[in-house]
């Protein structure tokens, strides 16, 4: 930063891609930035020639235009404008809410695709950074790789601007400015960047206002100022950014990793519907899956088996688990239970184990001593087995619910404790059962406890509850319906 910018060689061929001198020398680092300026529009609507429309997002409680379609742009609508202001310019403007998740998903898809050019693909908002320096020899030079990326990009139907530079931030900045350029020499970088307008820098509005007040227009103007002053006026972050831009500071970047997918196949020598052979195949495949997960620190809770038959199309069996697992033995046990419920459509020739939904594995602590409790994992594995065989609705806890009506005070679901409400029997009948003979052969012991509740939600209840005993010695919980006067059995003090 202390060096004077004037001492640097100026590159004359700025923004003229064809004229850029491409060095034949192998470059140590060369970053390609692919910027998708219209990504937020493209993920929402495929064709843009419809009536003028904008993508809006909320900013400070106000709907603000995030991106405008070409036809809306011609009418003067631009991003950052309030939606009401945009309506004033174009009364029949259509608007759609921004879908950030779709944008991110689209970017991840593009990053997966870009993996064909380099192993180092990094994600930025609306942009991708590719380190292509190492791939130049393979693809036959910069021009070749550039032409190839451009050609491949056409199939993706995204509006793209591309730039090459020795540092990732410089490539990104050039791409954002729409400069279809390639700078290969680190020495040439400052000259190219120096001519960019300061408006292009990712700075806050306050900093931008300060640039204007100081009369700074180009990046070069900023570079001419002493570093200490810039740090004081604009913050250290900006100085850091400028250093990373020009390559004074290195910028390590996180590489995008495509989603892991596991797929393994077992072929039987003969078509078989004998489960013993199928389990044998599974026992060979599952350890492969387990080591795949171990190596990557992953675990899964969803797995698919695909059975291939000769006569009919392939059939699938899904396994869902309650807990994440990376244990082959446990998964095998669950598949055993799952397959016991499935009728195979036809004899099986080949078997695939497919898993494409992985999560980070969180290994639990092993207990130091073999306590009487035993490890928690075993209990959870057993719950998984119960879930698979009995069904999720059959494995529950008991929920205390805040309601005075006895039939609504207990629910099935994740366990939930509460406080005791009056004297209640341990057994509740699912439906109150009408005593046809009234109180014949029944002696009342205590009561009544009046429960009157639920008029607000349509489940109105007006009852007098009694403890009673019948001839057989059962201890009953009865109530008298206060509206119709009938007697009902509702519980047993077991």
């Amino acid at each position: 930063m202390a060096r004077s910018a004037a001492a640097l060689p100026l590159q004359t061929s700025l923004f003229a891609p064809q004229a850029v001198a491409v060095s034949t020398k192998r470059c140590s680092m060369l970053w390609a930035a692919l910027f998708f300026p219209r990504l937020s529009l493209e993920v929402l609507r495929a064709d843009d020639d419809a009536p003028p429309w904008v993508v809006v997002h909320e900013q400070g409680g106000q709907q603000v235009v995030y991106a405008a379609s070409a036809s809306a742009g011609q009418l003067g609508v631009e991003s950052g404008m309030a939606l009401t202001a945009a309506y004033a310019l174009c009364p029949h403007l259509e608007s759609e809410q921004r879908d950030e998740a779709a944008e991110q998903a689209c970017l991840v898809r593009l990053a997966d695709w870009a993996g064909r050019y380099t192993s180092m693909v990094s994600l930025e908002p609306q942009a991708l950074l590719l380190e292509v320096g190492a791939s130049l020899t393979l693809f036959g030079g910069l021009e070749a790789i550039r032409a190839r990326i451009k050609k491949d990009l056409q199939r993706h139907c995204h509006d793209t601007s591309m730039a090459f530079a020795p540092t990732p931030q410089a490539a990104l900045l050039l791409a954002r400015c729409g400069a279809d350029t390639a700078v290969t020499e680190p020495q040439a970088l400052r000259a190219v960047l120096g001519r960019l307008s300061l408006e292009a820098l990712p700075v806050t509005t306050k900093q931008a206002a300060l640039f204007a007040r100081l009369g700074l227009r180009l990046l070069r103007d900023l570079w001419r100022l002493p570093t200490a002053g810039v740090a004081k006026r604009f913050g250290v972050d900006l100085v850091d950014y400028l250093d990373r831009l020009s390559g004074v500071l290195p910028e390590p970047r996180l590489a995008h990793q495509s989603r892991p997918v596991f797929s393994a196949r077992w072929s039987f020598s003969l078509e078989t519907d004998n489960m013993t052979f199928i389990y044998h195949g599974l026992a060979q495949l599952l350890p492969q899956l387990a080591s795949f997960m171990r190596l990557r620190g992953l675990a899964l809770n969803r797995l698919q088996l695909v059975f291939y038959h000769t006569q009919c199309p392939a059939s699938r069996v899904e396994l869902g688990m309650q807990q994440l697992s990376d244990n082959a033995g446990h998964i095998f046990k669950l598949l055993h239970e799952r397959l016991a419920q499935v009728q195979l459509r036809a004899p099986v020739l080949e078997l695939d184990v497919v898993a494409d939904e992985f999560h980070a594995s969180v290994p639990g602590n092993e207990s130091l001593f073999d306590g009487a409790d035993g490890p928690d994992g075993e209990w959870r594995q057993m719950l998984d087995q119960l879930h698979v065989r009995l069904g999720a609705q059959a494995v529950t806890g008991l929920q205390w619910q805040a309601d005075h009506r006895p039939e609504r005070a207990t629910g099935f679901g994740p366990p939930l404790d509460g406080e005791a409400l009056g004297e209640r029997p341990l057994w509740l009948l699912p439906q109150p059962q009408r005593l046809v003979n009234g109180l014949k052969n029944i002696t009342r012991e205590s009561g009544p406890e009046r429960i009157e509740s639920g008029w607000w939600d349509g489940g109105d209840v007006r009852r007098d509850y009694y403890r009673a005993r019948d001839n057989a010695g059962r201890r009953l919980w009865l109530f008298r319906h206060l509206d119709e006067g009938g007697w009902y059995l509702h519980g047993l003090f077991a």
Binding site: W379, L386, T396, G397, L398, G418, W427, A472, R474
Partner: protein, 204 residues
């Protein structure tokens, strides 16, 4: 010599020595009723065996009998599992008696044959103190499997039956009958004792 022999025999619960001589104590769950603790040969519910409770009908106090033991187990943070209960257990009543619902697991299999399967799975878990099941009629072979699972997992399995199926391999078999202010308990069979005994319990 005789004291060595005595020690050897008394340490072995599989050696049955005639009336009342069983002194070996396995892990035991206190029943909460002193009368009952005194009569049961091990001094409480066996904590690693299967027990059969024959009650002609529900609602005569069959859960009251086991409730103190369940409360103790729940306080120790162990799991209680109820399999295929005939009615809905009332959350409020359980909370009132001191059982935390956090450690209560309810299994409601839709198929009858899944009940013993699930019971065996749960019994083999050491984190579980008691498994209560209402399985309907079971073959002696199945009961024996459950008995072995209970011993392996050191948990108490309780089977509720309406009728007395003879020749059951359960370690403890009780028949309940309603009494005036409590429950009549007939001990039909218990590991390490030969006599049938009958006692009367009163509930608070």
């Amino acid at each position: 010599m005789s004291s060595d022999l005595e020690k050897l025999l008394s340490g072995h619960r599989h050696v049955w020595r005639g009336r009342g001589a069983m002194t070996s104590r396995g892990r035991v769950l206190a029943t909460g009723f002193t009368v009952l603790d005194a009569v049961l040969p091990e001094g409480g519910w066996p904590a690693d065996a299967l027990m059969e409770v024959i009650a002609p009908r529900e609602g005569i106090g069959e859960l009251q009998l086991l409730l103190p033991a369940m409360v103790t187990a729940a306080r120790q943070g162990q799991w209680l599992v109820w399999i295929a209960p005939p009615y809905i257990p009332c959350a409020s009543a359980l909370v009132a008696s001191g059982i935390s619902l956090q450690r209560l697991l309810l299994l409601r299999p839709s198929r009858q044959e899944d009940i013993p399967w699930a019971m065996e799975k749960v019994l083999r878990q050491r984190r579980c103190a008691m498994v209560l099941a209402w399985p309907g009629r079971l073959k002696p072979v199945v009961v024996r499997r459950l008995q072995l699972a209970a011993a392996a997992g050191q948990s108490l399995g309780v089977l509720f039956q309406h009728r007395d199926g003879s020749g059951s391999p359960a370690a403890l078999r009780l028949r309940l009958a309603a009494a005036a202010a409590g429950l009549q308990v007939d001990i039909l069979k218990s590991r390490g004792a030969c006599r049938r005994q009958s006692i009367h319990l009163t509930f608070a």
